[in-house]
Assembly symmetry: C2
Amino acid sequence: MIENFIDTFGKLAASLGLNRVVGQIYALLYLLDNPLSLDDIAKNLKISKGNVSVNIRELESWGAVKKIWVPGSRKDYYEANQDTLNVIYGRLKVRLEKAFSELNTGLNNWGQNSNKESDKTKQKLKKIKEIKNFMEIVLKSLPPEISGAQLIKKISTLNKIRFLFK
Amino acid sequence: MIENFIDTFGKLAASLGLNRVVGQIYALLYLLDNPLSLDDIAKNLKISKGNVSVNIRELESWGAVKKIWVPGSRKDYYEANQDTLNVIYGRLKVRLEKAFSELNTGLNNWGQNSNKESDKTKQKLKKIKEIKNFMEIVLKSLPPEISGAQLIKKISTLNKIRFLFK
DNA sequence: TAGAATGTTTAGAATATCTTAAACGCTCAT
DNA sequence: ATGAGCGTTTAAGATATTCTAAACATTCTA
């Protein structure tokens, strides 16, 4: 039952280029209302403590789960961010920013060595610059965060005013 | 030089959960104005014919490259879709749709077995249904395609009318 | 029809990623 | 100070992915 859901989320994560366990941990915490410790999670998913340690930090890094302090316990407890769309958005944003900065570095290196190139090469450089500008615009327009409820509202507003876009 | 750009695009693809070669082939075709054959690509990237065959079909499947018929030649030639943002969007869409259908199947199986469950379980089922509805809405609102130019226009319009969203 | 020119599939080698158990280091309670 | 209770790191084994060369299938040409 619950296993089924966790499995589904694991596959989903895998299909998005993440470790399967990342999806499984999120699903588990999402369904449970009480925060779980690292050992609880390891026991539940039948995986090692070290594996949970690594993958829960990944989840934490883009705000999918939050560390909770439970009075009287020395363990770290975690609970899921219940706004799943926000979680997905946060993840997408991290990836886009990383991809962009890599591309940017690559292209800057490229530009430096190609002053004395042929016309054909210059044409290619122009194309590359186009992509760079493009990514800059897209990246700048990403809001810092967005809640699921907000996004749905935005979408429905957009549909209503579609005529504005021709 | 060109190798640098191709390498950058390869890494970019890898960081998005694709095969590195997929990004490299796209970068190569993007920069060159004339279409290339399977053998040309293999020779350029120094990889096997079979590898190109598999990965170029992947690119073709979401409209990143197009097969071109060159009169007088029996080979298949390929050229890149120059609208890179559209390419990325197409890819994203395919992934989202796949992820949703997986989740949907998983959740339907889940629902069937949980009529006679406790209140606590029912509460969890409710949470799961929430996610499902959510993905449905997001998926429905994806337009079939969008050009880079269009998107940039949309974004700037959105910025101008931001007040509508509160 | 033979064989040359293509793209595809396949089996296994090469690489990369994931996972675990154990070692480790830190902090707290005694 | 000592040891128990944590989370993290590590090294090695397990698993999955990627890549290639060769076999294969199909289509064209002579």
